[in-house]
Amino acid sequence: MSEYKHPYRDAEFILNELVDFDALCADAGMEDINAELASVILTEAGKLGSDVLAPLNEVGDTQHPQLGESGVQQTAGFAEAYQQFVEGGWNSLTPSEEYGGQNLPNVLGTAVNEIWQSSNLAFALCPLLTQGAIESIAHHGSDELKQTFLPKMVTGEWTGTMNLTEPDAGSDLAAVKTKAVPNGDHYLISGQKIFITWGDHQMTDNVVHLVLARLPDAPPGVKGISLFVVPKFLLDENGNPSARNDAHCVSLEHKLGIHGSPTCVMSFGDNEGAVGYLVGEANKGLAYMFTMMNHARQGVGLQGLAIAERSYQQAVEYAKERLQGTKRDGSRFAIIKFPDVRRMLTQMKASIEAMRGLALIAAAEIDRNQYAKDDSSAQQHNARVELLTPIVKGWLTELAQEVTYLGTQVHGGMGFIEETGSAQHYRDARILTIYEGTTGIQALDLVGRKTLMNDGAHLAELIAEIEVTVSELEASDQFASQGKALREALEEGKTAREWLLRNAPEDAAAAGSISVNFMMMFGYICGGWVMGQSALKAQALLDAGNGDPEFLTAKLATAQFFSEHLLPRVKANLASIQAGSASIMALNEDQF
């Protein structure tokens, strides 16, 4: 079983040097929140993650949740761990103080969330979903709904779920069929939802489902979907769970990974009808989902980072221990001495550092938008959040596939053996490019809503900002070649942007055909930007005699690696983009 230790040095380096955490908190009026407190919080969360959640990771993989008479029974040990998580108050990190939260910055919540996700991805999905449900109710629910449900969800005493998908309505939610019929002060919900993560369990005495459904008079398509709160247990007059609502898990999916997380088929209203309460106004459900989508998608992007980190830690440990080389004197040495193993480990490390940097920078933009002093600043940060979110979700989770693949590869034959544990990370990572909008959906979002809809203005702003880092790199002898490489990549990015703006109106298949290359390309460019900034900051700290030279010189090396070995992928992306849709759309359907 692999151990997990939170890479606190890198997290704190990014928070302090790239995100400017102290300034962010001061600007947000959080005078008493600073890097020192963040360090304490990360340390304490790291203990719970390493000691309590991480050891259960493998348990969840082998002892799957079971559906029985009284619902879903989670993996042994999860309920106790969840209890510790709740008692530690960790569920309440970012929610508003009004509902008992600590109201800490989203970027700090994100940094802490990495710990839970690395420790135990399947477990950590449960609080992640609760957080999404809290946000939906907090943003759009009536005061009564908020007062009734939020305090217990913020503490984590009740968990939340998101019920969107139906057998016929996946990426296309316009096809949602679940019905909601008015019935006095509430609605009766009936229908089936699938892929409901942590849809049922016995860890808490209530589960609060958020369900998309249609009213009888609703217009067709996306404009006729409403959002409802459907608790597993209805509440008595004191707000305590009492009668069982007609909302049940009827089946559990058999999956490739994240086995510890029960993925439920939920059936609403099989008997008397499931009691539900409308969130906000009728027919606005999908719009409400969109308001929390950035958060949810960035959260999944972060899972990509987290599983990559876990896989990397295990690979490093193995590479240092596994003796497979023999010197002339007959003594043996560990595989970490082999250049190709180095290539794999350094690629994992450089990828992870770029991923962490981008994840936290994007998370901080959510704070900077929320606490902006004026409208223009708010709009600017909002545009950046909108732009970076599909990249964080799409690029990080795609990169996580490669990192966890390499993690298994470093192990050689042992990596293919389940008991080694590396395979679990590889399997667990696989869902990340799929749920919360597939890579294809993220890429379409980036080229469509986030680029074409504003004529590429937001992307141009990002490019201009990256150009500042390029100039700084070029101005230094030490980083001139990294500056040159990033300059080239950025020019290629500009060419791609212009290609998209020019060709999308003429060729209906253009945007969709190039979208994934476009998204990956800007992922690598952002990664080069993050690592370029990291190198400059690391050298400045070294020059000033501050910080740990071991860590900082390693950062210089990973930045160079990223520039030399990952950034050149941008060239291939551009070549593919410029080829357009021709060969992609060439075959007729019978030729497949």
Binding site: K5, L37, V40, D51, V52, G88, W90, D548, E550
Partner: protein, 249 residues
């Protein structure tokens, strides 16, 4: 009842300790530091006494530079009420620590003092005993169970032959062993509250203590790397090697 606990900032037990290249000391530059695990047990015991209603106030003391306040804050986040740091340049040797603590204890007048039995950096296991002598207080060292009982504290001690229970008149000093309790994790709300708890700073001059060097650190060397083992062909060969090469028989 007021309880006083002491905490020391030490190298994190997860960190692989390195010796400075000139062999003058352990290399602590840029190393993750943490609360000494035995002190953590002391803090936990004090907090449990408070939760049980036995203790009314728990005060934590640490000695060292400003960085020690991190460990004081950790103790505050675990449930201690207030902190005192005694300002010194680095971590002073045991007798100086005991003298400084004795002065603080004369001021604070706690009825129970709980300390870790030793710090994992120097492994001296002597400060509690020295403090007992300086204050002429009863001491129960290596505690695996602590019970307050009508002006007395019953301390179950882990001694070589098994367990020994002693009853001490209060005020008394208890030093903790590993099995006394399992320390809790700090909760997020308590970490937030800890920021606002009082933390006083005193210096040795205020306390009327002159820090003296009684020992001198001559040299620090890392343990020799373990050599690879060999396989022996027979028991006879093993016995022969133990006798003639290892010379342990």
């Amino acid at each position: 009842m007021k309880v006083l606990v002491t905490v020391k900032r030490v190298i994190d037990y997860n960190v692989k300790v390195r010796v400075k290249s000139d062999n003058t000391d352990v290399d602590l530059a840029n190393v993750k530091m943490a609360l000494n695990p035995f002190c953590e047990i002391a803090v936990e015991e004090a907090v449990r006494l408070k939760e049980a209603g036995t203790a009314t106030e728990v005060v934590v003391v640490s000695i060292g530079p400003k960085a020690c306040e991190e460990q004081i804050r950790t103790a505050l986040a675990l449930g201690v009420d207030r902190g005192i740091r005694i300002e010194t340049e680095d971590s002073p040797e045991s007798l100086n620590v005991a003298k400084l603590l004795a002065k603080v204890i004369e001021e604070e007048k706690p009825e129970l003092i709980i300390m870790g039995k030793q710090a994992i950096d120097t492994d001296n296991n002597q400060t509690g005993q020295m403090l007992g002598a300086l204050l002429d207080m009863p001491q129960g060292t290596f505690a695996s169970e602590v019970q307050i009982d009508d002006g007395k504290v019953n301390v179950t001690r882990e001694v070589d032959g098994g367990l020994q229970t002693v009853a001490l008149n209060l005020p008394a000093i208890v030093t903790t062993d590993l099995r006394l309790n399992e320390p809790r994790y700090a909760s997020l709300p308590n970490i937030m509250k800890a920021k606002r708890k009082p933390l006083d700073v005193k210096n040795p001059t205020d306390l009327g203590v002159e820090l003296k060097a009684h020992t001198q650190l001559l040299k620090v060397t890392p343990p020799e790397e373990r050599q690879a083992g060999i396989k022996v062909g027979s028991i006879d060969e093993l016995v022969d090697k133990l006798k003639n090469e290892a010379k342990v028989l």
